[in-house]
Symmetry: C3
Subunit: 362 residues, 3 copies
Amino acid sequence: MNTLFREIRDTPLLWLLVFVPVVFAVEKLSPESHTLLFVLSVLAIVPLAALLSHATESVAAKTGDAVGGLLNATLGNLTELVIALTALRAGQYALVKASIAGAIVTNTLFMLGASFLLGGLKYHVQEYNRVSARLQAGLLFLATIALLVPSAVFSADSATAFNHKLSIGLAVLLIVTYGLGMLYSLKTHREHFASEGPAAHGEAKWPINVSLIVLAGVTLLVALVSEVFVESVQMAAETFAMTPAFVGFIVVALVSAAAEIASVFSAARKNRLDLSVGIALGSASQVALFVAPVLVLLSHFIGPTPMDLQFWPGAVVMILIATLTASLVTNSGRSAWFVGVLMLMVYLIFAMTLYLLPPRVA
Amino acid sequence: MNTLFREIRDTPLLWLLVFVPVVFAVEKLSPESHTLLFVLSVLAIVPLAALLSHATESVAAKTGDAVGGLLNATLGNLTELVIALTALRAGQYALVKASIAGAIVTNTLFMLGASFLLGGLKYHVQEYNRVSARLQAGLLFLATIALLVPSAVFSADSATAFNHKLSIGLAVLLIVTYGLGMLYSLKTHREHFASEGPAAHGEAKWPINVSLIVLAGVTLLVALVSEVFVESVQMAAETFAMTPAFVGFIVVALVSAAAEIASVFSAARKNRLDLSVGIALGSASQVALFVAPVLVLLSHFIGPTPMDLQFWPGAVVMILIATLTASLVTNSGRSAWFVGVLMLMVYLIFAMTLYLLPPRVA
Amino acid sequence: MNTLFREIRDTPLLWLLVFVPVVFAVEKLSPESHTLLFVLSVLAIVPLAALLSHATESVAAKTGDAVGGLLNATLGNLTELVIALTALRAGQYALVKASIAGAIVTNTLFMLGASFLLGGLKYHVQEYNRVSARLQAGLLFLATIALLVPSAVFSADSATAFNHKLSIGLAVLLIVTYGLGMLYSLKTHREHFASEGPAAHGEAKWPINVSLIVLAGVTLLVALVSEVFVESVQMAAETFAMTPAFVGFIVVALVSAAAEIASVFSAARKNRLDLSVGIALGSASQVALFVAPVLVLLSHFIGPTPMDLQFWPGAVVMILIATLTASLVTNSGRSAWFVGVLMLMVYLIFAMTLYLLPPRVA
């Protein structure tokens, strides 16, 4: 356990962990302070997500390459998944869908854009392996297309029965694809994905027992804090004049990706753009191929009614723009600060649009 | 004629020719067995398409490069054209349009995807000439854009007079473009397209008189079988619970491309992906630039009313996704099995969506 | 002043300047001859645009690299801006928006396509620097995406207040991006954009005082002729059976880009495709990032009511197709005549569609 405490002491981000007990205390004492609870739960989730990510990597590092890679890939978006599950149980499907869409857009436009900007401020031109970047951007493009076919092809008012059957079939296909994708990236063609492994983080690894305890404990904490978050978010959004679409798309996506964002930025500053591109695009693909279909399938067991994979048209457009941008931008294998500025600008425009959105549209 | 019989004996696919007389017999004896007639006509069209393709190549090989190339290019989608003409004469415009859209999507997603998968199971990474692949993908993209402008820009309920004038103008422009494209690929820049020629198939060529007789005779047979096919398809679709969109988009497209599919797959297994990519993308371009406009122009003479080039929105989205995917995927000039899996998955999702579609939508 | 007259004598295009006084004379004597005035004003704007462009370059050449580049970039679309401002003051927002959309499409599809065709008729295959072409196509793609987010994400009937707030925020973001883009292309990464400078034109430069007088005088003349043009265009369009969308999208865009078109074509014939691609894509980006937002912001001061950035869906599709085409086509860094034919064909199809359009749609 000492390793854990030492880590917390040395990582300023983890000092935010102090907000975890505070959230629970405030929830007990003043369950009606929605805005305060919202802010506190956001502040508490960020360090928990970082711990979760670190614990996953530690377990992965100890269990050997194959199982480790599998774990890393599957639990990489665990925070996102837990928050979405909480929202699913509360029947807040608009929030769940907005957070899926937002995760893909945030991973591509924000993470990648900010990496290019941060890296570009330090290095004149940054080069990275365009062959594997193109491959990953291609996979992401196809993964999001697969996710979006029902929404892109039919309008939301199509027959509900049709939608549900299609969503289940689609979810199964996506998960099969995801499984084959792991076979591909972890086994048959691992050399193309080598640099993404946990070794990238120079930090000391925890012993396996600490890692497993942290993994279990922190997942539970994330689940508990998520409950506060999901309950308070609707009221808090009104206070801050934020639309639900903005909360799901921007706030939830940024909060739950905090740990990855930190890794990606640090890699970019070290001129290791291959790693940044790999994490950003890989994580976005995972949301489309794994998180989204798992949520659809689980909605048949834990939600009040089944959830389909029908996104509102604006979200479809934003996701397509984001992945198409990722494809076009990573195509050249080189970047400079202004490319990052442009990507962040598109992200900012999305955020501004969602913020100003009349509530009834989304 | 012996060459022809020897060829049939040695090619198991051609044994299916036995179903040609069977179709006519059953149609005479039991014209109401729509489902049986549908299955038989499908089984009969597949070997006829293969013969047609082979006869075209033989004629092309004998008539010298320029005329031969022209013949090959023009008659390459002859089966598709004959089936569509039959449907056109019967006034089944939804089927005609679905088969145009389906041919483009099948050529790109299915043919290319399955080639990448089949080739990738045998070779770790397959490389192909990305310069000419990009060129062809670019041509295909522009060809489909040209085809889709009216549907993409205006909704189906725009004034009919406007639609018909636009469709005729568009058809003329597309055919002019097609003519210039042949000048380009057969004359001024033939070196970029060299490997696609008939020499690719190692099979012995027939004498010119056999080829011409086969070409004429088989075209007639395809036309006759198509009539049975088009008549029975609607009823049979109901039996199999298939939507008309599914039949046109998937079944007709796969049936009429059977011969090309065989060539493309065989090339992929021989690590000749240049050839696979060339046939798949070239054939898709041809449907957009030649088959579709010819059908529009002919509809003014043989159909009950003129046909326009307005596709339903779902088909537009699917075509655009397919050609965009072809562009992005062939961009790197290398493929591995998982790229094929992803493309097939998107195709499968399209098929599933069309299968589950509530009938009134398409 | 002699230099100016010598230049006019040697450049046949500038002989059209004779139409400038003719326009004003006809307007005085016969203000009701709308069709005649329309034709005359078009003929007068073309040489004025050429002079304006030449004067800008001369001033830029004299004021040193940094200020010169800034001037060149900002005033490069001055004709376009002046015409649009005149239409804005007259409250013809449909015309303004159509001319913004048309400028982007004309710069990419028409200028680039015709360059590829003209160059390709002379050279078998033309190669150009694909790294900088990709960079510029990527910037253009992101610039147009940023411009189109509101239209792509929401339908035109969304709340007006929302639209106006969003349009102002967007305009500010676009101009900030434009400023950063100039910092990038003129300062931090100027080496990627070096060849686009004024030195490209081999013509003798005017003295600074001549240039400044010409710049001021010609801008005034363009403004005055634009007024005649905008007033007469509606009536003339009816005479020629042209829709307003066609006039804005095609006629205005071609007229105001006349000078650039001449430069781009001449570079293509000299096998300097880098220059053609740079001018065409750079100018299109500038319309999206500078001209459009400036018009929105100015509409709050000079128009009858504020203008938003909501484009009609057909325009959105056309702009996206144009920039996506530019990305895909410039991707390979090589071109041949048929690529140009295909791009021009898409442009022609757009033009035909807009021409045949039932008036109420656009």
